[in-house]
């Protein structure tokens, strides 16, 4: 059932921009650039897709399928999470390439290192929790949900980009093996928070959506 729902989301509900933004992880190849912007695109993709879904009456189609009302929410949560994870995974080869081709590093902000991916997962965790639970209160107020989700996400991105400029936190910006090893707990925390927030977002959103009158 989950596979079928996800197939439906990508085949009918996803806006083409979602696929484009999934490829924007390649921005880590730009020599001097705030790589946190990549996460903005990871939040923008679901927003545009949800707007598109409202235009195409996607929710009505989904609810009329032989699924429970809460399954519709599961499909949407999976779509958002899959697109964001795909974006991060697709960016990995580029992050590796830049260390070979551009060894001088990123002078603007954080490097595309282990900590960067950990922070990215945390940003997505918070955005998804706020965006999804807010959207499924009504199943149509997408703009409000996006603004509410973007506020904490933006603050986290700014904090990440700023932190690496403090000398005491220089290890967050490192690409040396010792720095990368030190950054591993951030990645682990990011992965755990992403998974937990997604589960929580799915549960709360489903409960809210069951009370929504379409």
């Amino acid at each position: 059932m989950i596979y079928r729902l996800l197939y439906k989301e990508f085949r009918l509900a996803a806006h083409p921009n979602l696929y484009v933004f999934m490829c924007f992880g390649a921005l880590v190849m730009i020599p001097a650039y705030p790589y946190g912007v990549v996460f903005l695109f990871g939040c923008l993709g679901p927003y545009i897709t949800f707007l598109y879904g409202r235009e195409t009456n996607d929710i009505f189609y989904s609810v009329l399928l032989p699924v429970d009302k809460r399954d519709v929410v599961k499909g949407k949560c999976l779509l958002v999470a899959t697109s964001q994870l795909a974006q991060l995974i697709l960016s990995l080869p580029f992050a590796f390439l830049r260390t070979v081709m551009l060894p001088e590093g990123n002078i603007v902000g954080i490097e595309a290192n282990v900590a960067y991916y950990g922070f990215g997962l945390m940003v997505y965790a918070v955005f998804d929790l706020v965006f999804l639970t807010s959207f499924f209160k009504t199943a149509y107020k997408v703009g409000r949900a996006f603004v509410l989700g973007m506020v904490p996400a933006l603050l986290m991105i700014i904090a990440m980009e700023t932190a690496v400029h403090f000398p005491s936190l220089a290890w967050l910006d490192g690409l040396e093996a010792s720095d990368l090893f030190r950054q591993l707990p951030i990645l682990a925390f990011g992965a755990a928070s992403f998974a937990l927030c997604l589960l929580l977002a799915c549960k709360v959103s489903a409960e809210r959506f069951e009370c929504v009158d379409l």
Partner: protein
């Protein structure tokens, strides 16, 4: 046997209340749900499909309580919401390809046959189909998973008389073999004259009458005026029931 039994359906909005709505749809029959605009027809259909959460009431579909067997019941239901188009920029083929994955009894041969019968080009986008063709397209999808109950909300609204006649004739053909039933909401009474077996009349959120068509018409004999010799038509019944008197002189 009844394929649908609705009883005590109640839903309150700030400016409107659906109150204690109940009716049944028998196997192989067409039930017409009539009422003026805003009477509660769409709310009734949405409530019984769980698109709108009713405050009380029960819905039994194929003998099963719908709200706890939603997934199972929906395998045998086809829904057409006349005013709502899905995925206007997608091809019919893409929508069918997704839809077929959700139904255990999807019949690809039947789907192709219905497309041919209704002259639907699967490579056309939904927006390229006329309103009547869109309804037929949704019907083709519903019939291809052998839906036993078709729930149609205002499927003929906005259609020209020829397309409406075409659809109502099709509805009659669909129930001919006795295996399918149709619940069909409309405010166009002439469509029901042509194809309904039973009629439920909703006014201001309440069921006024729900009965077999001839019995339904007779039950409104009290509306007859002195010069009415023939039985009242559905049109006359609705107009006389809904007629308002505006006290213009008082407001001037």
């Amino acid at each position: 046997m009844n394929v649908l039994e609705v009883s005590g359906l109640t839903k309150s909005y700030p400016a409107f209340t659906l109150r204690d709505v109940g009716f049944t749809v028998g196997e192989g029959r067409i039930m017409g749900l009539i009422g003026a605009n805003g009477a509660g027809k769409t709310t009734t259909l949405k409530s019984l499909l769980d698109l709108v959460r009713p405050e009380s009431g029960s819905v039994e579909m194929f003998g099963l309580p719908f709200f706890v067997n939603e997934r199972r019941c929906k395998q045998h239901v086809g829904v057409v919401l006349g005013e709502i188009d899905f995925y206007r920029y997608k091809k019919v083929r893409a929508i069918a390809d997704v839809t077929r994955r959700f139904y255990d009894s999807w019949d690809e041969t039947a789907y192709r046959r219905y497309l041919r019968t209704f002259s639907i080009d699967p490579d056309k986008q939904v927006r390229e189909l006329s309103s009547g063709m869109r309804v037929k397209c949704m019907l083709a999808l519903a019939l291809s998973h052998h839906a036993r109950l078709l729930i149609l909300d205002e499927p003929t609204s906005g259609l020209d008389p020829v397309s409406r006649d075409d659809l109502t004739t099709l509805f009659r053909q669909l129930v001919e073999d006795g295996t399918r039933s149709i619940l069909f909401s409309t405010h166009i009474t002439s469509d029901l004259d042509k194809c309904a077996d039973d009629i439920t009349y909703i006014k201001d959120g309440m069921v006024v009458e729900s009965a077999e068509k001839r019995r339904f018409l007779r039950s409104f004999d009290f509306l007859k005026e002195t010069d009415d010799s023939a039985p009242l038509t559905l049109d006359e019944i609705m107009i006389r029931m809904e007629r308002k008197h505006y006290d213009i002189s008082a407001s001037v």
